[in-house]
Symmetry: C2
Subunit: 196 residues, 2 copies
């Protein structure tokens, strides 16, 4: 291995290991524009995808879709907790407006294919999203994934036209961090690997 | 963005987009040694992991474990097809010996955590494996993921001591390709992204 190759390996390792969650409320402009987002999605498209089912899709939520999402968050809260107060519903609504770029990641379990069980399809989405996050990181953008019970709510499914067999897995937020974050401690290799 | 930053982005995009499946029978030495594998697993450990459940683990299968796996493949075949012929069982056994490095990826759905549904845990494993594959790619190694019905068989679960709530998701093979592969066609961004 030449020095340059070793430097490249270091760069890639650092790049992968240093990516960490930044919550949407700590993300602001500058954020990826549409051409940049297209490049990030092209990275996502390179994920392992058994039998080429492409079992996922993404919705990039613009201003009108975020308005809709804010109502979804409020209604999903009310459905889980009929005693929710107006200020709590307002808090729920505000979550739809955090972070400059907001994307909904959807897994598609509809295709009939005996060799590709549902878990493999969700696995493929995880790989696709990781590619997207790393491509964003390479461009100097930070990212956060968020989820929550609203993702499974009928009101969200209806608002975003999810088909039966599709499931909203998480939101992806992208932008520039507004504050420094301490590097996250990761599990040690011996905690999760066995040589047998 | 300076020219150097643009070059770095190109490098990362090319790296992510050019990674593609190479089947275990087309992988040979040189392959990652143990220190290299530890670096790849450290990359895997940086995957998004909601609530830090670390809902996955990996088994690196050495020669004795591959012997055991070969018997698993033969017995799993016989369980699905009691008329399987000896030559077919031998073919099934041979699959356990393909490729210089063989790793079993396991998702762990046992932890109780209402905020992290099973799909998020499988998603996390997909992200972890993608990190591992990209870290291998940075070092000039190729990789393949493989699955199949044997992964769900009781005989495999028993041979590798999977707990109830753990599921073997796929095998990861690593090494050096023995032949050139045509770049894989990937889905176009407009096939799976909507701006709404």
């Amino acid at each position: 291995m030449t020095v340059d190759e070793a430097a490249l390996v270091d760069l890639c390792d650092t790049w992968i290991r240093s990516r960490q969650h930044v919550g949407p409320k700590h993300l602001s402009e500058p954020a990826p524009d549409e051409p940049t987002l297209r490049a990030l999605f092209a990275a996502a498209a390179a994920a392992p995808d058994h039998a080429q089912l492409r079992p996922w899709r993404f919705l990039v939520l613009g201003p009108a879709a975020r308005e809709r999402l804010s109502e979804v968050f409020a209604q999903a809260l009310l459905a889980r907790d009929p005693t929710a107060q107006p200020y709590q519903m307002d808090e729920a609504r505000q979550k739809a407006f955090r972070g400059p770029v907001l994307i909904l990641a959807v897994v598609d379990l509809r295709a009939e294919h005996a060799d590709v069980p549902p878990m493999e399809r969700v696995f493929s989405l995880g790989a696709a999203v990781q590619n997207l996050l790393l491509a964003a990181q390479a461009r100097g953008f930070a990212s956060g994934l968020s989820s929550g019970r609203a993702l499974q709510s009928p009101v969200l499914r209806q608002a975003f036209d999810l088909a039966e067999g599709e499931h909203a897995l998480c939101f992806i937020s992208l932008g520039t961090p507004t504050r420094h974050k301490t590097p996250r401690q990761r599990p040690g290799v011996d905690d999760f690997v066995r040589w047998i």
